[in-house]
Amino acid sequence: MEDYKFLFKIVLVGNAGVGKTCLVRRFTQGLFPPGQGATIGVDFMIKTVEVEGEKIKLQIWDTAGQERFRSITQSYYRSAHALILVYDISCQPTFDCLPDWLREIQEYANSKVLKILVGNKTDRDDREIPTQIGEEFAKQHDMYFLETSAKEAENVERLFYEIAAELIGQARSKDGSSAAAAAAAQRQSDGSSIGLASLGAKAAQSNCCGGLANAGGGSSASNTSQGG
């Protein structure tokens, strides 16, 4: 038997050619294969990571961006724990399509799904969307925000590890809250840890937007430091 504590499904969506497949390949295989053909339907990768001492299996669904695969890719939204919405920072149209993608997510995905906005290709010189614009868009729509470069392997690991950490937090707080309700009169040591977990969950929820800003600020800071 495989030994892991949590299994999370992460689905990547976004226009064709924004680099979804490259992000996944970079993360799962450490490769940046240029000249990739367009993805057909969906592709499927697995990587086991260790976060906070827990083994976590990430099932990553890499979807095709082209319109004609939409009815295939949509069917995967429902079971996703996290949705990564990717755009290309050097291509305005990919950013302009984001509201359409959000509508689709709204329609097919679980309402509690974790949403992350990712501006990919920070290695490009011909940036068209400033970090701040992306950040604000994410804040407006209650999403995390991160800028990445699959080519330079920048922020790619961080993206997936933060998602894993966030999802663990959610899973624990869910378990914790139900357990707390069921066994209010349990031993004290248990009770206190449950209390902490649910507190943490609340903090995470109310902090959602703050977290976004932090994530964005962090990435831009690292960008500038790299530039210098």
Partner: protein
């Protein structure tokens, strides 16, 4: 060695030890002496061997010398042989050149004659012979020997080659124009002889394309007539597409041996041909699909479907706040422009046929290519290059893209069909008297199975996965909502009378129709939906198992990634079972709070009305009359019987389990309100045992576990003396008794219920 010689005793001991040592040394020496003989014998042997070795040494030196000599000789011989060989090679080359030159003369004479006589086969054969010669060498030879006849011949042949090439090309074009198949084939076979492989393939492929295009256009114009004649109007376009693909496949099949025979030396010939044919195939399929889209109103219908789903998804989000309305979206007919799912059923079927035919076509071509490279391309690397080129052709073929688009349409329609049909099944849900479940379970699972099966017939893994996902979404959404709605409103409406519910079900069972009150109907509905949910957990398992088998049958050779993809989607479908189980649990809790808890309460209260401080006489009287447990079991039995036929076996077991939990909790509470004497405790212990036996007998599940705590309470209350407890308490003394579910403090509190036990004894109790 130093010895303490102070006392004679110690010195004696020392002496003794020395004596022992001496003996040991003697022994060792003796052993060594025994070996001396052996060693000497060996030494003499070695001495003799030495003499022999000397001769061996001198012999081997001699041998070595001889070998060196031989090697030198051999080397000088082989050098001569090499030189000879080289000379022979040159001689044969020279011979070849002479042959070439002779042939050259013959060819140059023959070719001119052949051209004049229009015997192109012969002419081309001469040219082929000429082209097979090393052109550079020929030129050099011509220069070297400076014999004009050679350079003249070369010149003639070069001219003739050009002329023949041009002539053949022209003749081929003329043959195409006059539609002379025999000549076309004749010249097609000549092209490779004059070195025009690529052009030959090109021209011939284009000719075939032209023919096929004519045929396809004719067919396309008469799609409807042909279909009518074949009585397959529903599949008119799928049949035409099949015929297009069959034509192309046949062309490849027929011409592959010809190409291999005449163009064999150029390994890329067949793939060149296929590339050209595929382009034409793309174009023809595109025309057909345009016609299909127009005739079947795909765009219009897609729009309708899209609008419907858009509307209903808005509908569900708004009605989610009023869950009772959740699934009562009007199933079709509500508005005029709403698409009837039956209308697209035929189109869905046609699309699946189209998609599977294309998959089949590509599979056929790939197999042809594989056979071709295996037999005709010797180099492994070239094989891979050609196969990769084929994969690229397939991947970039417009036909592929068209199919991806049509698959998208299929998925849209299939989802609409499935969701609408499921809603219809929910709307038409019918409960047959005497059944535990209603029609909804069979109907919905029938529809879902049909959808997945149909997805399998597309031969597309991506499509199958998407449909499985949609099935899971549909079950998790509409279906569970439909089951859950009546459960949410609870089992009763205002008053609790199980006798009535029981009667209602009985009358339905007996008379086969519902004519009772709304409350009765809602109660029946509650139980039916509860059974439906339970049955669905089983159905979903069966569905997954059968689909797993059918998937394995449809896609016998999948890549690991595709396998994982399918498995993951099936796992997701299986996970819906958990949601269904949660629905069952939810219903059970509803049943518990509205039907069981309030019902048991008055019966338990009766326990309080009995005295538990009994004299022998009172005990006799109590036992003579109806005891509490008799009364209680009769009522419990009545309660359970009212559900036994109405609930599915698993649900009934769950009900008994819930009932047992509830009974023990309430009974424990009642016991703690009473006080007992010795006989009261005895009676209680008997009664608890009787109750345990009854409940255990009522179900196949083990409820004994749930009874442990209450029987332990009874055991404690049935003690003779407080001190007796220690016999029961230590876990290894009594194997039958499971470990204690009571804490020491609880035991003390229970003991205190016995009025004849002294508080001090209880307090002193140490365990």
């Amino acid at each position: 060695m130093l010895f303490d010689t102070s006392s004679s005793e110690i010195s004696d001991q020392g002496l003794l030890r020395i004596a022992e040592e001496e003996e040991k040394v003697n022994n060792k020496l003796e052993q060594l002496l025994v070996k001396q003989c052996q060693i000497e014998a060996k030494m003499s042997g070695i001495g003799r061997a030495m003499v022999l070795l000397h001769t061996v040494d001198s012999d081997s030196t001699k041998l070595n010398m001889q070998i060196v000599n031989t090697a030198q000789l051999a080397e000088s011989v082989s050098a001569k042989v090499r030189r000879l060989d080289l000379a022979r090679c040159r001689a044969s080359e020279c011979q070849q050149r002479v042959h070439d030159l002779i042939d050259l003369q013959l060819c140059s004479q023959g070719v001119v004659k052949a051209v004049i006589e229009e015997d192109f086969e012969k002419g081309a054969a001469h040219v082929a012979r000429f082209l097979a010669m090393d052109q550079q060498l020929l030129h050099r030879t011509a220069d070297d020997v400076s014999i004009t006849s050679v350079s003249d011949a070369v010149q003639t042949l070069e001219d003739a080659t050009e002329k023949i090439r041009e002539l053949i090309s022209r003749r081929f074009d003329e043959a195409v124009k006059s539609n002379d198949l025999a000549s076309v084939e004749r010249f097609f076979k000549i092209f490779p002889l004059v070195g025009y492989h690529r052009i030959g393939i090109d021209k011939f492929s284009k000719y075939i394309c032209l023919k096929l295009s004519d045929k396809a256009q004719k067919e396309l114009r008469n799609v409807q007539d042909i279909a009518k004649a074949e009585c397959r109007l529903q599949l008119a376009y799928a049949d035409r597409l099949t015929s297009i693909l069959e034509n192309f496949a046949r062309v490849v099949e027929v011409n592959q041996p010809i190409v291999e025979a005449y163009y064999g030396q150029e390994s890329a010939s067949l793939i060149d041909m296929i590339a050209i044919l595929q382009e034409e195939c793309d174009a023809e399929a595109k025309n057909l699909l345009l016609e299909f889209n127009k005739n079947r109103q795909i765009v219009y219908r897609s729009k309708q479907v899209y609008e419907c789903t858009q509307r209903s998804s808005n509908g569900t989000t708004s009605s989610n706040s009023i869950p009772s309305l959740g699934h009562y979206r009007k199933p079709s007919g509500g508005s005029i422009d709403k698409l009837n799912p039956k209308e697209i059923d035929a189109i869905i079927a046609e699309i699946t046929v189209m998609h599977s035919r294309v998959e089949l076509y590509f599979r056929f071509m790939r197999r042809r290519m594989q056979i071709h490279v295996d037999t005709c391309v010797p180099e492994k690397e070239d094989q891979i290059i050609i196969m990769n080129r084929y994969e690229r052709i397939v991947k970039n073929a417009d036909l592929r893209r068209q199919m991806q688009e049509i698959l998208s349409t299929y998925l849209l329609f299939e989802r609409y069909f499935m969701e609408e049909s499921v809603l219809k099944a929910i709307g038409l849900d019918k409960y047959e008297a005497g059944q535990q479940c209603s029609s909804i379970v069979d109907d919905v699972f029938f529809i879902l199975r049909k959808s997945i099966r149909r997805a399998l017939t597309t031969q597309s893994i991506n499509g199958t996965c998407a449909v499985i996902n949609n099935v899971a979404a549909c079950l998790d959404g509409d279906f569970i909502a439909a089951l859950k709605t009546p459960l949410k409103s609870g089992y009763t409406s205002g008053y609790i009378d199980l006798a009535q519910a029981y009667n209602a079900i009985q009358t339905t069972l007996q008379q086969g129709k519902l004519h009772s009150t709304d409350a009765d109907r809602s109660r029946t509905n509650f139980l039916v939906q509860l059974n439906n949910a339970d049955m669905s957990t089983e159905y979903i398992e069966t569905l997954c198992q059968t689909m797993e088998l059918e998937i394995a049958g449809t896609f016998p050779c999948t890549t690991p990634v595709e396998r994982q993809l399918l498995d993951s989607c099936l796992t997701e479908l299986k996970a819906v079972r958990d949601a269904l189980k949660a629905t069952v649990d939810f219903g059970m809790q509803q049943l518990r709070s509205s039907a069981i808890k309030p019902r048991i309460n008055p019966w338990i209260n009766k326990f309080l009305s009995y005295s538990h401080n009994l004299t022998e006489e009172e005990l006799a009287i109590y036992e003579a009359e109806e005891t509490f447990v008799q009364f209680f079991i009769v009522h419990l039995d009545g309660l359970l019987n009212s559900f036994k036929t109405a609930l599915s076996p698993r649900n009934y077991d769950a009900l008994v389990s819930i009932l047992a939990t509830e009974v023990t909790i309430q009974l424990e509470r009642a016991i703690k309100k009473c006080s007992f004497n010795r006989l009261g405790g005895l009676i209680l212990d008997q009664e608890v045992r009787a109750l345990g036996t009854y409940l255990t007998g009522a179900t196949s599940w083990s409820v004994r576990d749930k009874m442990t705590r209450i029987s332990q309470i009874a055991t404690v209350l049935n003690l003779d003396k407080v001190s007796e407890l220690s016999e029961f308490w230590s876990p290894d003394s009594n194997k039958e008794m499971p470990s204690w579910h009571l804490t020491l403090n609880e035991v003390r509190a229970i003991l205190a219920l016995r009025i004849d036990f002294r508080i001090e004894d209880i307090k002193r109790l140490q365990l």
